[in-house]
């Protein structure tokens, strides 16, 4: 995949997107409002992609995946000499200049949270705790090398269950469910099965489970509203969830306080009223009593993306949502105070809006990964063929 680059926008409080110089006036601001190329922040290893440095024909562009926590990014180089580089908040002074995570050599996939780095290798999965005193291995399990389903099951799924974001780290999942993909929100989980069914469990306080109520569930429960429509992708954010059907339709449900569901949000209207009133010094009294606002969407709702095109991928941050269409456009909506929507402002939006930086810039978006308050996108110029 030549000429593919990663971009980032949104929260930059720890220099994850635009590095901050240490010991001086901060170079990067805390908010990056428009997409910025990530090269400098991603990997300091300068593309050591070949294990045999003398064999030039093997060298190729490093292929990188990205995972993000609130304060850090993990850049996972998956070809050549696979490893993970972490940038952003540095708690361990020894690691000031060393961003390569030594324990990650050879890994195929990684997830990162404020407390843990989870690494999947060919033969095992490891969970490392990230403490100021240094990383320590807190859980490991054997990866099922023998089973060949044609596609490897992705993190946080592991044989027999999944790795949660807080202890107990390993949690079992019944094999009867035939889980192929799992998305973890702040306090809920959304699962995709091999037959295209969606299950959810955890806290339901904001409708994020999609069963039509605010009741929490201890065990995986099928989303009846989606029965009969096979799904191909699931995602979970702070208090909302999303899935894409085989036919490319996007469904979102959960909390809509910043418009992250893509439905009219009263919270947005109140916020903009309050902001304009502090500027003018007066209070705008809203006498209209609108019934069309949705605070919580407890059943999956079909999202209207302005294009005819099908949806290929979706990712959820804490309070925002990003999705890619088959035609390679990126749409974002929800909370935007840190620039995580990428429209060049700090506005939130309750309607999907295309990120013009890519569409007007002649780029085709390949992948999107949301951190809690930021968004990472891989894109390439439209003219160049991608594999």
């Amino acid at each position: 995949k030549k000429s593919m680059s990663w971009f980032g926008f949104g929260f930059n409080g720890f220099g994850q997107i635009v590095p901050k110089r240490t010991g001086g006036k901060d170079e990067g601001a805390d908010k990056v409002l428009s997409p910025v190329v990530l090269e400098r922040s991603l990997c300091t290893c300068e593309g050591r992609t070949s294990s045999n440095p003398t064999n030039k024909s093997e060298t190729s562009e490093p292929e990188v995946k990205v995972a993000a926590s609130w304060s850090q990014i993990a850049a996972i180089q998956i070809n050549g000499d696979p490893h993970v580089c972490i940038s952003g908040f540095i708690s361990d002074s020894h690691e000031q200049h060393q961003r390569l995570a030594p324990e990650s050599k050879g890994c195929q996939e990684a997830l990162i949270s404020e407390r843990y780095l989870t690494l999947r290798f060919a033969d095992r999965v490891e969970c490392w705790s990230l403490k100021p005193s240094g990383k320590s291995l807190v859980w490991s399990g054997v990866q099922d090398v023998s089973a060949d389903t044609g596609s490897t099951v992705t993190l946080p799924l592991v044989p027999g269950g999944y790795i949660a974001s807080k202890p107990p780290l390993f949690r079992p999942i019944s094999s009867k469910l035939c889980a192929v993909s799992l998305a973890l929100g702040t306090e809920h989980a959304v699962l995709l099965t091999s037959s295209g069914s969606v299950y959810s469990w955890g806290s339901g306080s904001h409708g994020q489970l999609g069963h039509g109520s605010l009741v929490s569930e201890d065990e995986p429960r099928a989303l009846e509203a989606l029965l009969g429509v096979p799904m191909k992708y699931v995602a979970a954010g702070g208090w909302h969830s999303a899935c894409i059907s085989a036919g490319g339709d996007l469904y979102v449900w959960g909390w809509n306080e910043s418009g992250q569901i893509g439905l009219p949000s009263k919270g947005l209207k109140d916020q903009s009223q309050r902001e304009s009133s502090t500027e003018t010094g007066e209070l705008m009294v809203d006498k209209r009593e609108d019934n069309v606002f949705i605070a919580i969407q407890a059943f999956p709702a079909l999202v209207d993306v302005p294009e005819e095109s099908e949806i290929r991928k979706v990712s959820c941050g804490s309070r925002h949502t990003a999705s890619i269409t088959n035609s390679g456009n990126l749409y974002t909506w929800g909370w935007g105070h840190y620039g995580q929507l990428g429209h060049g402002s700090k506005c939130s939006s309750d309607e999907p809006k295309v990120v013009e930086y890519f569409s007007n810039g002649g780029m085709i978006v390949e992948d999107v990964v949301c951190g809690p308050w930021n968004t990472f996108v891989s894109a390439a110029p439209r003219d160049h063929p991608t594999s």
Binding site: W70, F89, E114, T186, V215, T278, G281, V285, K287
Partner: protein
């Protein structure tokens, strides 16, 4: 407005070492680093705008923690972090040219910290708001006597909500200033409701500053409070909003065309506005309980006529006191504050059809004054007591005794939950 900053600064620790930032392990290193950096920006760099920006990051992050799990599950450390975020934001806001709008914004930030955070640095947010509220330009109560002032939503007497006819057989008994022992043996011991007359006559709210809308505006007008919108909390369109007391009064008390009901309900206003607490007293009869006076929860209930608390029960004993509110009409002054209240004992529970859900199991499904007799046939079998509670009276609602409350006019109640 440089005087604002000077007075705010006087409340803050003089030096960085005197500004504590100590948290349990639950606060992640990245968050602690942000807090420490913000303190540095304040004391070393004097970079107040950067301080305000970092403050917002701390507020946003801890706000997400506050919304994770049930309120009871939220670790107190996150509420402390939230308060620190509010503190830093207030400091950033008040520095330099602090206009009226900025002062109001700072008060609002203090109130958010008081409402959702936990006490830090010797309740510094309360101390700050006490300084800031004196910087807000308001009209003094004495000035608002002329008839040009908007009158409350109160309709003239003849249109006022009709007082329900109380059946003498079902009426809650009234006793005037009973001795402690009479109350204990006559009512508390056997958990019987009673209206106590004359026991709050000595409150400063009735003697020194008679409460009025203008007085409430003067004392608490700029303070942010939670308001319930919608008819009742069991309705689908029920919601909560944060408004200043002035906004609440403007939109839901005074406004002739207010759409829907607004109710400042179940809010510990007297902790938030200590000046108001000096106008009331904890009823002596609370000493008959086993708990500490410090553990008594005092709530304010302030709203127009028509607010309803659906039939429900609470886990503690309750003294519900009706305040006098003095209202100015074109025709003269009037005292208002009546509520219709119906009571069912715990034994009647089966006839009251409580909700099954965990969230609402202490609330009945039945609309008391308009019951669906087909869906809830046994409701009419349930025996009850009822009353109209007048200003100056106190209703004793025994622990776990079902109660339904509807205000007949503009009303301010104070409830004391004690054990």
């Amino acid at each position: 407005m440089a005087k604002v900053w000077r007075d705010v600064q006087a409340v803050l620790p003089a030096t960085e070492p005197e500004f504590p930032l100590v948290f349990s392990e639950i606060v992640e290193p990245s968050v602690l680093a942000t807090l420490e950096l913000t303190r540095e920006l304040l004391y070393r760099a004097s970079d107040f705008s950067a301080c305000a920006e970092k403050a917002q990051i701390i507020i946003d992050y801890s706000w997400e923690k506050l919304n994770t799990g049930t309120w009871r599950d939220v670790d107190k450390e996150w509420r402390r972090v939230y308060s620190y975020g509010c503190l830093f934001k207030v400091i950033g806001t008040c520095h330099g040219d602090a206009s009226q709008a900025k002062v109001q914004e700072a008060i609002r930030t203090c109130d958010m910290g008081l409402l959702m955070g936990a006490s830090i640095m010797d309740n510094i947010l309360q101390r700050l708001v006490n300084v800031l509220k004196n910087k807000v330009k308001t009209q003094l109560p004495g000035e608002v006597e002329d008839t040009d002032q908007p009158c409350p939503k109160q309709k003239p007497k003849k249109d006022r909500m009709a007082e329900p006819k109380i059946d003498a057989a079902m009426s809650v008994p009234r006793v005037k200033c009973p001795a402690l022992e009479s109350f204990r043996s006559g009512f508390l011991m056997h958990q019987k409701p009673v209206i106590l007359e004359g026991i709050i006559d000595h409150w400063p709210a009735f003697r020194e500053h008679t409460w009025s809308i203008d007085y409430l505006r003067a004392v608490a007008g700029c303070r942010t409070v939670p308001v319930e919108l919608g008819s009742r909390y069991t309705d689908e369109d029920w919601s909560q909003r944060l408004l200043t007391v002035n906004e609440f009064i403007d939109r839901y008390i005074v406004d002739e065309e207010a759409v829907g009901l607004g109710y400042l309900a179940q809010h510990q206003l007297f902790d938030q506005v200590p000046e108001l607490k000096e106008d009331i007293r904890i009823p002596d009869y609370c000493c008959l309980g086993e708990g500490d006076e410090d553990d008594i929860t005092i709530n304010a209930w302030f709203g127009p006529g028509g607010t309803i608390s659906p039939l429900h029960q609470d886990p503690q004993q309750n003294f519900l006191a009706q305040m006098y509110l003095l209202i100015s009409f074109l025709t003269g002054k009037q005292v208002v504050g009546r509520k219709y209240i119906r009571l069912y004992s715990l034994e009647q529970t089966e006839n009251l059809y409580p909700h099954q859900s965990q969230l609402l199991h202490n609330t009945s499904q039945v609309d008391v004054e308009n019951p669906d007799v087909i869906q809830f046939p046994n409701f009419t079998k349930a025996s009850y007591q009822e009353c109209v509670l007048h200003p100056g009276e106190v209703l004793f609602i025994p622990k776990q005794h079902w109660h339904y409350v509807r205000s007949l006019e503009l009303s301010f109640s104070v409830s004391f939950w004690w054990s």
